[in-house]
């Protein structure tokens, strides 16, 4: 482009640049851009304030050296795990939560979106937009505390109902006749449904506010599933459903030992197995199969139930999903169980998939990694 004789083009270019600079400066979140080699080309005032640097300290500096991302324990995130690296390698925006280290050494929690700058399909740089989420985390923590308290208050009387009902039906307070036992079964079943609902709502809220606390300990998947069998067997027995557990021979059971969260695993299995029993007609079959993989343990819950119609299968893990073929047959479900299961498995680094044929049955399989990846033990 050549300069016009009256200087209009340079003036217009200067006006455009000034406008672009004003837009850039007015962005409410921290904004940093780099060239294709990772050198900082632009940085806005919000970013400077959040990080505690002066502009001249960061311009042209190498991004990963100056903008230090860390885990909750202040250990640096490796270059390959940085959102900006992943954005450049994949050519797609990457959004994550992480911590950044300010100039004074303080660490702040941030939500980051890193995007590649593409020209004719080729990356010529990257941008990182980020904001301080300290206040959001505090609000989430308060919500989580409130939910814990509310659910505790609701569940304490329910625990008393369940415990005393079981004590009566187990004969701890003397023998009962058949009708009394039947009445107790109804009370127990209703209190179980109430408990499940409270548990589901509590956990979904925790997942959605990112406040689910995961405790990683060495556990044996087989032992955890075995602990659930008495209650699941009772559920299955009420519908004359055969419930079996298939596990490797004793000599191989040490391969079912992993580092994970026992309560989450139990909740996932309980959800899948009780769904399998609920959505299988009387006299059907449910199997829980546990097998070790190289890097994980796999658990399948297979039933001979009503199955999921093909056209509904892509919505199975959505909130409030209930397939039309079971809604009329079984009206007590909330449609939250599988959404919760997916969220819980995400929290421990697991995956889940299924095969299903309407009228034949369903097989859900989930994996549990042998040990958690580092990014699961931070925010």
């Amino acid at each position: 482009m050549t300069a016009s004789r009256d200087g209009t083009i340079p003036k217009r270019r200067a006006a455009d640049q000034a406008q672009a600079e004003a837009i850039f400066t007015s962005v409410g979140d921290g904004f940093i851009s780099t060239d294709e080699f990772g050198h900082i080309t632009r940085i806005n005032p919000v970013a400077l304030k959040l990080l505690g640097y002066k502009r001249q300290e960061l311009l042209n500096a190498w991004f990963p050296e100056k903008i230090i991302a860390v885990y909750a324990d202040n250990m640096p995130v490796s270059l390959i795990d940085r959102p900006i690296t992943k954005a450049l390698l994949t050519g797609k925006p990457i959004s994550e939560k992480t911590f950044l280290r300010r100039k004074n050494g303080e660490i702040i929690p941030v939500a980051v979106t890193a995007s590649p700058i593409l020209m004719n399909g080729k990356p010529i740089g990257a941008t990182q937009i980020f904001r301080d989420i300290t206040l959001e985390q505090e609000v989430d923590r308060m919500k989580s505390e409130f939910i814990s308290l509310a659910s505790h208050q609701l569940r304490t009387p329910l625990s008393a109902i369940k415990t005393y009902s079981h004590m009566l039906s187990d004969g701890l307070m003397g023998p009962l006749h058949k009708d009394q036992l039947k009445a107790l079964e109804t009370i127990i079943s209703a209190s179980n449904r109430m408990n499940e609902l409270i548990s589901t709502l509590l956990n979904i809220t925790r997942i959605e506010t990112g406040t689910i606390a995961v405790t990683f300990k060495t556990v044996n998947v087989c032992e955890l599933v075995s602990e659930l069998m008495p209650e699941l067997t009772l559920m299955a027995h009420n519908k004359s459903i055969t419930l079996k557990i298939k596990q490797p021979p004793k000599i191989e059971r040490s391969r079912l030992r992993i580092i994970s969260d026992s309560l989450i695993i139990k909740e996932v299995v309980t959800n899948l197995a009780s769904n399998a029993i609920k959505y299988t007609p009387d006299n059907g079959k449910v199997e829980i199969i546990i097998r070790p993989g190289t890097k994980d343990v796999r658990v399948s819950v297979k039933d001979s139930g009503w199955g999921i119609p093909l056209h509904s299968q892509d919505q199975v893990f959505s909130k409030f999903f209930r397939a039309h073929n079971i809604v009329k047959k079984e009206t007590t479900g909330t449609g939250l169980g599988l959404y919760l299961v997916k969220g819980l498995l995400d929290a421990v680094g697991g995956t889940i998939w299924f095969n299903s044929k309407e009228g034949k049955g369903t097989n859900f399989t989930f994996t549990l990694p042998r040990k958690p990846s580092k990014n699961l033990i931070q925010i």
Binding site: H166, L172, S199, R206, E227, E231, E267
Partner: protein
């Protein structure tokens, strides 16, 4: 068989756990908060403490912290957290303060409670359990 201290503020549940565990042949004493528990362990010397977390006066976590500070905390005494607050930060914190296992009240029928108490007395936590199997 074993001496068990039940620390649970709800009177009905406290009473129920005592009945269930006495039925299994254990010697059981119940208290209603962490402060009472700190006083009781001096003379009762339990083998296992069944510990609720959310209690008035002194909760489960504060009890564990104060018990450590007294210097009388015995590593052989098993602590079984019995709570309705699964997947909460409080449960993670309890493990860090030395709890062996956690079970959820609203999921646990009496025969399961008796089984888990028995197993915890014998094997401790899952980690100890798997180590023993080596």
């Amino acid at each position: 068989m074993a001496k068990i201290l039940v620390v649970e503020d709800d009177k009905d549940l406290n009473n129920a756990y005592k009945i269930i565990l006495k039925h299994e042949g254990h010697e059981v004493v119940g208290v209603f908060d962490g402060k009472e528990a700190l006083d009781k362990i001096k003379d009762f010397s339990p083998d296992l403490i069944l510990l609720d977390l959310l209690m008035p006066v002194m909760g489960g976590l504060e009890f564990l912290q104060n018990w450590q500070k007294t210097g009388t905390k015995n590593k052989d005494v098993k602590v079984l957290i019995f709570t309705n607050m699964e997947n909460s930060p409080e449960v993670s914190e309890a493990y860090k303060l030395g709890a062996n296992r956690c079970i959820i009240k609203s999921w646990t029928a009496p025969h399961n409670l008796a089984h888990v108490v028995s197993d915890t007395l014998k094997n401790g936590d899952y980690q100890e359990n798997t180590k023993a199997k080596k």
